[in-house]
Symmetry: C2
Subunit: 222 residues, 2 copies
């Protein structure tokens, strides 16, 4: 059996899938695909031109799946242990909600507003637009961080009392926030700051962060 | 037990949830919320300002769920029969993929490009921009319909041999396409045209379409 993840390792969506497989102890390999210039044949397996795509060579062709949420659901059903989705239907739905929240609004704010400016643009030998970054930090992100601070409350994890897909997805977006050179203000959002730190200390996250950091630092210093 | 769906009945996402509950024979009621002018308290239960929201009075508060995909997953887990998600992990993932495809690109093309112009604008006493509608029909939709035509192939349903969440979601987007006064060109996309017709003849879809049609016709004629 071979599981192949196609995508760039700095993508929060690619990392999300990789963290899920790492948490489950599943072997996989990553084949780099630049989402800004995917090879023509990539569009065949990713109709929305998104990364990651997963290929499972156990399956008859077409043996690919596109969309990080779809891929994580597949991994969960193929490798149920340890479970990363709550068993209770309502808690499960809450976890899916946080996944959607992180994949949509959090990604759409941190991505173009910080990570694209400070990392991707530098990769492409362009200068970041710091006006966009400043507006993201002062106006766009605070309501989202306020929401997450309230939702985390006094819990260790977002849903119930176990690490779940909700934490994977919020956690991976916070990695890109950190890669862009920002930290969660622990005075304003103490629970979110501690929560992010807890997530990033898990071996699954830590391994990817440590591998990615030198690459990010090289781009940012260029 | 009371299940309350908050949302406007012409929304494809609200209809998606209602079709799922109808297929499962679940009782529910709909409370109208105008997504273009939601009441202030609505933002509390729908942080992304989306409709539908589901309230399940069986649950302790906060007993609401936002996002149509999250709600459908909840309904499936709370009322497993008849199942609307394939059992096999890979087929299940394929179904989720079509759900995502319909919820994102199909909705983003049919919604602003046709339904908003010809129905929502008329509701708001404005005139549709037919240039936008023409570009949708000539340029934007054809590649999506080509993709669906190929995916449906010679099957009755999109995934495996049973009606699933994939069909609910593509089907509800095609209802809005029809409400906007368009039909799938059966010469160019014979399989998609026949598939859409099959879906809309199911009692679950048919009931909603028949209830909505006079409302849509009233708006369009205004």
């Amino acid at each position: 059996m071979t599981l192949i993840v196609y995508g760039g390792s700095l993508s929060p969506f690619v990392r999300k899938v990789c963290v899920v497989m790492t948490e489950k102890g599943v072997d996989f390999k990553v084949e780099q695909v630049n989402p800004f210039a995917p090879p023509p044949e990539f569009l065949e397996i990713s109709p929305l031109k998104r990364i990651p795509v997963l290929r499972d060579t156990d399956q008859p062709e077409p043996n690919t799946l596109s969309d990080s949420s779809v891929i994580c659901d597949y991994i969960e059903h193929k490798f149920p242990n340890p479970p990363l989705y709550p068993k209770d239907p309502f808690l499960r739905a809450r976890a899916l909600w946080y996944e959607e929240y992180a994949d949509s609004i959090l990604a759409a704010t941190i991505g173009p507003g910080l990570f694209f400016q400070r990392v991707v643009k530098k990769m492409m030998k362009q200068q970041p637009d710091e006006t966009i970054c400043a507006a993201t930090m002062s106006d766009k992100l605070p309501p989202l961080f306020d929401y997450l601070e309230k939702e985390i409350g006094d819990r260790q994890y977002l849903v119930g009392d176990a690490f779940s897909i909700a934490d994977v997805t919020v956690g991976t977006m916070l990695v890109n926030f950190a890669h862009a050179g920002e930290t969660v203000d622990a005075k304003r959002w103490p629970k979110l700051a501690a929560y992010g730190q807890r997530l990033h200390e898990r071996p699954s996250f830590k391994g990817f962060i440590e591998k990615e950091r030198p690459l990010v630092q090289r781009f940012r210093a260029a």
